[in-house]
C-alpha cells in the first residue's frame, strides 16, 4: 500500500454537474421520498450571486466576526469572505461563550450566504399569481394602503408584528416606527416565548432577565431544569453544564414530562404531568420548610412575604402533589433534598415553564424556590432563564412589545414624555399621532395593544368587544413565523379577512402562503443579520456587535432601510430619524441608533453600552476569560464580556457591566447589586426595603428607595452633580435623567440607582398574589377541576379572554391524551429558515408525534405509521408516529417547527417559485388550542388534549 498521496488527473464529468447536482438530486428525491419538497430551478430573470465554488481557493480572505443567529447563547464565529462570497466558517476557539463550539444550526450557519430559497425581489399576489414588482412600487402601494386604512379606521387598525431576529437597532427602530405611526399594536415572539418570565420575574425582584450567565453555570453545584431542554434548544450551554458536572460533580435534575436529551445526562429526572409545575414546586417547598432547609438569614434580610408561601405550601403535602403531578411521593422528596443539599444551585427554565395559561405564576414559583434556598445573587446560583432567539433579550429590552416602550418604561404618559424627550420631539406631536378616542374605558396611547399570540383575534373578534376603534385590517409580519401561534385555523381565517398582508422577511413565511387569498399580499425581501451590522444581546444580557459579513443577497434590503423608506412615504421620516445621520446608501446610521438607545435606556443600564465599547469587546473577545467572562488584561481590562446590563451611567463612566444580578458581594462599580426597589417602600404598613443587607461599599448600610433628585438632595449629595447635570436632573429620577448624573453620584457612594429592596413573594397587582395551582383549560384530570379551577372569563387589555367557559367542558372522552410541544435541535422557531437549509433539512424530514408504546398499542399504531392527531378544538394534523418511551403513557409530544402542510394538504403550490423550504410538514399549532396567561397573554402550548388514530 502506498503511504503517500498520489496525484492523478481528475476524470472529466460528462457534463458540469457540480453545484446543481444537489438540486437535481432534490428533484428526484421529491418524487421518491415524499417528505422532501421538490425544488425547482431558479426562476427566469433571477440574479445569482457568485457561489463559493466559483471562488479560487487562494483568493484573498477577509475575516469577519459575527454571532450565530440560531439561539440566545450568542456563539461567536469567524466568517471567511473571498471575492464578496461567504466561503468559509472557522471556529472562534477564543470566544468566551462557545470556545468554537456550535450545534447543528450554528455549524450550518454559512448556508445563509447561499440563501437559495429566499425571496429574491419584492412581489405581490395578483389574481392568485406572484408578480415581481420594484421596491419603489412596493413602498408606494403599501404606504398608500396604510394611509387609506388610517383614514377609515384609525392607526390601531394596523398591526406591526416584529422580530427577535432584528438587531438591537432594528428592534428599537421598529418600536419607534409604531410609536410614530401612533399605535401600540406592535409585538414580537417574546410574547409567546418568555413574556411570562419577564412579568413574573421582574415583579419578584426587579428585572425579568436571566440573572447569571451561561459561563457562570460552571460554578454551580446543582442545576435544576424545569421545562428546559438545552441539549436541543441551547446545545452550547451544555458545554458549561457538563463542565460543572465533570468538575464540581454538580447534580443535574430535570423536571420534564419527557425524558429529554438533557435528561439523558441527568442524575434525577421527574416526569410531571404537563401543567403541574406549581404544585411540584410547592411540594419541594413543603419538604424544604418541613426540614428547615430554607436560608433563614437570606429570607429575613432580602425576601418579603415568605410566610404567605409557607401557608400555600402547607396545602401541598407529598400525597397531594404525587396525585396532581402523577409521580411518586419519593421523587418529590429526592428532588428537594438533592437541590437543597447541593448549594449554590441554579434554576433553568424555558418554554416548558412559560407557555402556560398560568405562566407568570410558574415563573414566580421558580423564583420563590431560589429565594427560599438563598440561591440568588451569587456565583453558581440564580435563575438562568435561557432565552430563545438570538436577540429576543434585546427585542424585549427595546420594548418591541404591546405593553411598553423601550426599557420597560410602560405606556404611562410619563413614559411617553421620557421617550419624547429622548427623541427630541414634542410630546404633543407624538400624542397627536394616536387615536384620541376612548374604547371600553381605555385610551389607546396608554393601553397595551393586541398581543402577538392573538393578533388574529384582533382581526376576527366582534368590533364592539375590542378596546379600540376598529378591527385590525392590515398587518406587517416582519421576521415572525405565524405557524408558531396556536389555533392555526383562526390564524388562516384572519389572514384571509384582512385588507392587506405584508411580509417583510428573507423567507415567504406562513403569513405569505397559508391564506386562501388571491390578492393583497406583499412579500418584501429583508436581508439577514449577516448582511448588515449592529448589536445584539444574548440571554445573559451581554451585547455583541456583528460585523457585516456580505452585501445583501439578491434585491433584499436591510431592516432599517425598509423602515426608513416607509417612514418617508408616510411623512414622518424627519421626526423618526431626527437625531440620526442618513448614510450614503440611504440607511439611518446604525451607530447613531445605538447612541439613541444609550440616551434613553437608563432603567436597565443599556445606557453605557455605546457602539464603540461594544465593538471593542467583540474585536477583543479573546481577551475575556471563559470561566469568569472578565478581561484580565488588554483594552477591556476589568470589564465583563459584552457589558451585560445594567451597564450603568454614560459610556464615559466606563461601568464594567453586571454579570450576576443582585450580587451584594461586589461593589456597584464592579458589577454588584441587590434587589430592586420597584414597588414602593412599604406594603400595608410593612417595610419592603432590604433589612441590613446591602452591596459591598454602599454608604447606606440598609435598604433604600430608588434615586431621584429629591433623594440626592435629602442625602446632601445633590451638589456633587455638575451644573449641566443639575439642569437635566432637576425634577427627574434615575430613570429619566438623561445626563447620567444621578447614576454617577449614586454609584460614587456605592449605591445602586434603583434602590435596595427585598424580593417579594406576593405580587399584589396580579390576579393571583401568590402562585396558585390552576388546572389547564384542557386538563385530562377532570377530578381536580373543582379544587383547582381556572379564572373567570375576563377582558385583558383590548381583548376578551376565555377561561372558565372553556375549562368547564369535559373533552376527555373524545380527547384522552395530553398533548405538549417542544423543539428539535436541527430547527429553530417556525423553521422557515432552517427547513430551507439543506444541511439541516436533511436531518429531519418528517413531522412526527411522540407517543408511548402503550398508547400506540391501544390504537394499533406502529412506529413510523401515518396518524391523524386531532386537537381538542378539532384541528387535525397528519403526521408520523414516533413510538417511544420518552413520553409516558397518556402524554404525547410534537415539535413545533414545521409548516407548509395543513390538514394533510400541502401548501407548496402557494409559495413563489423556488422559495418552498426543502422540508414541509404539519404545524403542531394547528392542533393546539385556546389558553392565555391573564397578565401577559402568553399562549398555552404545553398542556392540551388530543386523540390519535391511524391514518
Amino acid at each position: 500500500m502506498k503511504l503517500t498521496r498520489t496525484s492523478t488527473v481528475a476524470a472529466k464529468a460528462d457534463k458540469p454537474t457540480l453545484g446543481i447536482s444537489r438540486r437535481q438530486f432534490m428533484k428526484n428525491a421529491g418524487v421518491t421520498a415524499g417528505g422532501i419538497a421538490a425544488a425547482s430551478f431558479l426562476g427566469t430573470g433571477m440574479m445569482r450571486r457568485a457561489e463559493a465554488k466559483d471562488v479560487p481557493h487562494d483568493a484573498p480572505i477577509e475575516i469577519k466576526r459575527t454571532v450565530c443567529s440560531a439561539c440566545a447563547v450568542g456563539c461567536g464565529l469567524y466568517a471567511e469572505v473571498q471575492n464578496g462570497v461567504w466561503t468559509g466558517q472557522e471556529p472562534a476557539f477564543d470566544h468566551p461563550f462557545n470556545q468554537g463550539g456550535h450545534c447543528a444550526k450554528g455549524a450550518a450557519l454559512r448556508e445563509h450566504g447561499h440563501g437559495e430559497k429566499r425571496v429574491k425581489y419584492p412581489m405581490k399576489l395578483v389574481d392568485g399569481k406572484w408578480k415581481r414588482i420594484s421596491w419603489e412600487t412596493a413602498i408606494e402601494e403599501v404606504g398608500d394602503q396604510m394611509l387609506k386604512i388610517r383614514q377609515e379606521s384609525g392607526p390601531d387598525s394596523l398591526y406591526f408584528m416584529g422580530s427577535a431576529k432584528f438587531s438591537n437597532e432594528g428592534c428599537y427602530m421598529y418600536r419607534k416606527f409604531a410609536a410614530m405611526w401612533g399605535t401600540n399594536n406592535v409585538d414580537h415572539s417574546a410574547r409567546i416565548c418568555h413574556s411570562t418570565t419577564v412579568a413574573g420575574v421582574a415583579n419578584t425582584w426587579g428585572y425579568g432577565a436571566q440573572t447569571n450567565s451561561f459561563n457562570d453555570i460552571q460554578n454551580t453545584k446543582a442545576i435544576f431544569f424545569i421545562g428546559s431542554n438545552p441539549a436541543e434548544a441551547h446545545p452550547v450551554a451544555m458545554q458549561h453544564i457538563l463542565l460543572a458536572k465533570e468538575r464540581n460533580n454538580a447534580k443535574i435534575i430535570v423536571i420534564d414530562p419527557r425524558f429529554s436529551r438533557t435528561a439523558a445526562h441527568s442524575d434525577l429526572h421527574v416526569n410531571i404531568r404537563p401543567g403541574t409545575d406549581i404544585p411540584f414546586i410547592y411540594g419541594m417547598l413543603w419538604h424544604i420548610f418541613e426540614n428547615g432547609w430554607e436560608d433563614k438569614t437570606f429570607i429575613d434580610q432580602r425576601v418579603f412575604a415568605m410566610d404567605e408561601i409557607r401557608k400555600e405550601a402547607a396545602k401541598f403535602p407529598p400525597k397531594e402533589v404525587a396525585n396532581i403531578c402523577g409521580i411518586s411521593e419519593d421523587a418529590i422528596y429526592q428532588t428537594a433534598k438533592m437541590f437543597a443539599e447541593n448549594r449554590p444551585g441554579t434554576v433553568v427554565w424555558c418554554m416548558g415553564g412559560t407557555q402556560h395559561h398560568v405562566g407568570n405564576a410558574n415563573t414566580r414559583a421558580y423564583c420563590i424556590l431560589q429565594l427560599a434556598l438563598g440561591n440568588m445573587g451569587k456565583q453558581g446560583g440564580g435563575t438562568n432563564i435561557f432565552r430563545g432567539h438570538d436577540n429576543v433579550q434585546g427585542a424585549t429590552d427595546l420594548g418591541l412589545l404591546f405593553d411598553t416602550l423601550p426599557g420597560y418604561y410602560g405606556l404611562t404618559t410619563a413614559a411617553w414624555k421620557h421617550w419624547s424627550h429622548v427623541w427630541d420631539l414634542d410630546f404633543d406631536w407624538v400624542q397627536g399621532r394616536f387615536d384620541s378616542g376612548e374604547y371600553l374605558d381605555r385610551v389607546p396611547m396608554n393601553t397595551p395593544g393586541i398581543p402577538c399570540s392573538r393578533w388574529h383575534d384582533g382581526v376576527l373578534e366582534g368590533k364592539a368587544k375590542l378596546a379600540q376603534r376598529d378591527n385590525i385590517r392590515m398587518a406587517f409580519f416582519w421576521g415572525q413565523s405565524v405557524n408558531t401561534e396556536t389555533r392555526q385555523r383562526d390564524v388562516r381565517d384572519a389572514l384571509d379577512k384582512m385588507d392587506t398582508v405584508v411580509v417583510v422577511d428573507p423567507a415567504p413565511t406562513m403569513a405569505g402562503v397559508m391564506h386562501r387569498r388571491k390578492n393583497g399580499v406583499y412579500l418584501l425581501p429583508a436581508c439577514t443579520q449577516f448582511e448588515s451590522r449592529g448589536s445584539l444581546s444574548n440571554s445573559g444580557r451581554s451585547a455583541q456587535w456583528r460585523e457585516q459579513v456580505i452585501e445583501p443577497l439578491f434585491e433584499s434590503k436591510n431592516d432599517l432601510e425598509i423602515m426608513y423608506l416607509l417612514s418617508k412615504k408616510l411623512g414622518f421620516d424627519k421626526e423618526y430619524t431626527k437625531r440620526m445621520q442618513i448614510d450614503e446608501k440611504g440607511i439611518p446610521l446604525v451607530e447613531d441608533v445605538t447612541r439613541e438607545i444609550n440616551r434613553g435606556m437608563w432603567t436597565i443600564g443599556m445606557s453605557g453600552q455605546s457602539p464603540e465599547r461594544l465593538k471593542e469587546h467583540t474585536m477583543n473577545w479573546g481577551t475575556f476569560s471563559t470561566k469568569t467572562l472578565e478581561a484580565e488584561g488588554g483594552p477591556c481590562k476589568g470589564e465583563t464580556y459584552g457589558l451585560p446590563w445594567p451597564c450603568w451611567g454614560t459610556p464615559e463612566q466606563k461601568h464594567p457591566g453586571t454579570q450576576i444580578l443582585y450580587n451584594t458581594n461586589r461593589h456597584v462599580l464592579n458589577g454588584g447589586g441587590n434587589f430592586r426597589a420597584r414597588y414602593g417602600v412599604e406594603y400595608k404598613g410593612e417595610n419592603i426595603l432590604a433589612n441590613g443587607s446591602y452591596s459591598v461599599g454602599s454608604e447606606i448600610q440598609d435598604g433604600y428607595p430608588e434615586f431621584s433628585d429629591k433623594l440626592l438632595k435629602q442625602l446632601g449629595w445633590w451638589d456633587e452633580l455638575t451644573d449641566a447635570e443639575k439642569a437635566e436632573a432637576e425634577g427627574k429620577n434615575w430613570k429619566t435623567d438623561l445626563s447620567g448624573g444621578i447614576h454617577r453620584v449614586a454609584m460614587k457612594h456605592g449605591c445602586i440607582p434603583f434602590g435596595n429592596a427585598k424580593a417579594r413573594c406576593i405580587v399584589w397587582t396580579f390576579p393571583d398574589q401568590v402562585p396558585v395551582h390552576r388546572e389547564p383549560l384542557y386538563t385530562p384530570r377532570r377530578d381536580l377541576v373543582e379544587k383547582y379551577p381556572t379564572y373567570e372569563d375576563r377582558q385583558v387589555h383590548r381583548l376578551p379572554t376565555l377561561y372558565k367557559s372553556i375549562q368547564q367542558q369535559d373533552m376527555t372522552g373524545k380527547y384522552p391524551l395530553a398533548l405538549t410541544s417542544g423543539r428539535l435541535v436541527e430547527y429553530e422557531g417556525g423553521g422557515e429558515e432552517s427547513r430551507s437549509n439543506p444541511w439541516l433539512a436533511e436531518l429531519q424530514q418528517n413531522m412526527f408525534v411522540e407517543m408511548n408504546p402503550a398508547d400506540a398499542a391501544d390504537r394499533s399504531i406502529r412506529n413510523g405509521d401515518k396518524v391523524w392527531l386531532e386537537g381538542a378544538e378539532g384541528g387535525r394534523v397528519l403526521v408520523e408516529a414516533l413510538v417511544t418511551p420518552r413520553v409516558k403513557q397518556g402524554v404525547t409530544w410534537m415539535p413545533y417547527h414545521f409548516a407548509g402542510v395543513m390538514h394533510g394538504e400541502s401548501l407548496e403550490a402557494n409559495y413563489p417559485e423556488g422559495t418552498a423550504p426543502y422540508v414541509l410538514g404539519e404545524s403542531a399549532n394547528t392542533a393546539l388550542t385556546y389558553g392565555y396567561d391573564p397578565v401577559t397573554q402568553m399562549q398555552e402550548t404545553k398542556a392540551s388534549l388530543c386523540q390519535i388514530v391511524k391514518a
Binding site: T4, T6, T32, E246, H265
Partner: protein, 189 residues
C-alpha cells in the same frame, strides 16, 4: 508525523448533530443530499441509559476496507489518515461489508439511479488530487490538514465531545476528563 484519530466522549455527546452539519458545511462541494460522512448513533433512545456517539471513518491502523478493496483504491497518508481514490473506485460496496462502523457512503439515488463511487470521511484532508485543486474540492471536499487545521466536525463540536487529532493529544485530553469525573463515569457506564 502524527497518528490522526477521532474519539467521541459519550458523556459529553448530546446528539446535537453539529458534527454532521459541520461536515456538510466544510465539504459541501463533494457531498450530495443523502450523503453523510458522519452521523450520530444513539443507544437506549428515550430511556435511562440513553447515550450517543458521533461516528465516521475511524481511520483504522489496519483498515479492513483497504484490505478488501478489489480495486486497491485506498491508501494511508503519513498522518495515518485512510483516503481513497475515487477514480479507481468501482463502487462495488465491498468496503461497506468490511467496515465495522458503516463509514462508506453511497449515493442513495443518483441522477441516473446508479450507485456511484464510494464516499467517506477524509479527516478533512482531501484526496489524491493536488491540494486545494478544483478536482480535489469536487471529489473529496476540503483539505484542512494541508492548511494546518483539524477536521471541522471536531473543531465545531458544541460540547467538545468529539475530539480529533494526534492520538496522543486526544488521549491526554480524555484522560484529564476521566481524572476529574472518575472511572465510573468514564465512558459508557
Amino acid at each position: 508525523m502524527a497518528t490522526m484519530k477521532f474519539l467521541c466522549d459519550s458523556k459529553r455527546c448530546i446528539e446535537c448533530n453539529g458534527c454532521v452539519t459541520a461536515c456538510k458545511n466544510e465539504n459541501e462541494h463533494a457531498l450530495e443530499w443523502g450523503i453523510q460522512r458522519r452521523r450520530v448513533v444513539t443507544i437506549h433512545d428515550g430511556e435511562r441509559g440513553e447515550a450517543s456517539i458521533s461516528v465516521a471513518c475511524m481511520h483504522c491502523s489496519d483498515a479492513p476496507c483497504m484490505a478488501v478493496c478489489p480495486a486497491d483504491c485506498f491508501y494511508r497518508t503519513e498522518d495515518g489518515v485512510i483516503l481513497h481514490n475515487k477514480d479507481k473506485c468501482i463502487g462495488c460496496g465491498y468496503c461497506l461489508y468490511a467496515c465495522p462502523f458503516g463509514a462508506p457512503q453511497f449515493k442513495k439515488n443518483g441522477a441516473f439511479g446508479s450507485r456511484g463511487k464510494m464516499d467517506k470521511c477524509t479527516f478533512c484532508s482531501g484526496g489524491p488530487e493536488e491540494n486545494h485543486s478544483e478536482a480535489e474540492r469536487a471529489k473529496y471536499g476540503s483539505n484542512r490538514i494541508a492548511e494546518g487545521k483539524l477536521p471541522m466536525c471536531a473543531e465545531l463540536c458544541a460540547t467538545k465531545a468529539l475530539l480529533a487529532g494526534d492520538a496522543e493529544v486526544v488521549s491526554n485530553v480524555f484522560r484529564e476528563r476521566v481524572a476529574y469525573r472518575g472511572a465510573d463515569n468514564a465512558a459508557w457506564k
